[in-house]
Symmetry: C2
Subunit: 223 residues, 2 copies
């Protein structure tokens, strides 16, 4: 195995084993390179790779630190990876989202606060009846994120965040080409909110399913 790969593994094991705790600082590059028995250049490649996926946080002039390792942070890297998927796999991502999002919405039903529901309602109202497509899609993303954040499971929340990215483009196309997509989206959003206000988890789940399925159906008929 290449020395850089070895270094990645060693740093990983130092973290997993607990020798390096979240937030703790690594020895400076030259020292760590000497400890691990490689050059600073090669070590830097390892550090750079780990920082891309948010395991390490390097701060110029300061030092290199282990991140908090929060699920939220680590799964953020997922969206980077997801960006590379080609359009022909959007349907598969959407299918996964169709499984997760209704479940997350149902979980949020008993947990989301009145204040958060009010904020979501307000955002919907501010959007108006006939917003530009870009605004709608942005609001759509924010709407679902707002609900999912209240599902009580940060892994689930981050996963959905990462998966929602690639389907965003699909929604843009849809808004541009399908009649009444805007009105339909807004109506479905209001229905989801109403179900949440009633603390009706099953209704919320169903509306979320319907909401995503309509996008999925449209996309399937288009491709």
């Amino acid at each position: 195995m290449a020395v850089t790969d070895e270094a990645i593994e060693k740093i990983k094991s130092m973290i997993v084993s607990g020798a390096l705790r979240p937030g703790s600082r690594l020895p400076k590059e030259s020292e760590l390179a000497a400890d691990l028995g490689l050059s600073r250049n090669s070590l830097r490649e390892a550090v750079r790779a780990l920082s891309l996926i948010r395991i390490l946080d390097v701060r110029q002039g300061d030092g290199t630190y282990v991140t908090s390792l929060d699920p939220q942070l680590l799964l953020e890297a997922l969206s980077f990876v997801v960006d590379f998927h080609r359009d022909d796999t959007v349907l598969e991502f959407l299918a996964v989202r169709r499984i997760l999002e209704p479940a997350a919405t149902a979980l949020a039903a008993p947990l989301i606060t009145e204040g958060q529901l009010d904020a979501l309602s307000r955002q919907l109202d501010e959007l108006g009846e006939d917003p530009p497509v870009e605004d709608l899609v942005a609001a759509d993303l924010e709407f679902h994120r707002g609900i999912v954040r209240s599902c009580g499971n940060s892994v689930l929340c981050s996963l959905l965040d990462g998966l929602s990215g690639p389907t965003t483009r699909a929604r843009v196309w849809r808004g541009l080409t399908q009649e009444d997509a805007v009105g339909r989206t807004l109506r479905e959003h209001r229905a989801i909110l109403a179900a949440l206000r009633d603390r009706d988890a099953e209704a919320a789940r169903s509306w979320a399913t319907v909401h995503i399925a309509s996008v999925e159906q449209w996309l399937r008929s288009t491709l």
Copy 2:
């Protein structure tokens, strides 16, 4: 932004835009470095980072290539990230798996072939009634993977593969400490198989839910 980060972005955009297609070869390091306006060392850091998450495949003595970008391949990197999560988030991962796995199992019901079902049955039989815990856990992983692979959605399949890792350890503890965990697991596996043979998606979904919920419940009571 650092030149290396710029390079990562540029390479990414070259791939996303289609200038670099899956399987195509990148210019050699020195040329690419010159094109992007940075040194070979810094470029190497960018390439190394992208190869860690399976975007690029570098072959010594040959060249650097864009991978197939299959969801399966890219989500493999997920398990690397997941390894870093501490034990206190296992429950959250398990909760997500509890959502996805029953859905995947239900999806597999109409798709899985008789041959595959036979193979899974055979593996269960070969395991015997009272296998060592390690064997059971390995077989458990293989069992679920075998089913999920037939769900017709490679994104879902890879995602579950990545998420199943961290819960594995939990299952080991359980097998070691809980009375009859082995027998219960085997019975539940047989029930899932029977439901699949009947092409009864709902029954399969329910058994899968029960199966994972029992692990979850045990874990929750233990922590």
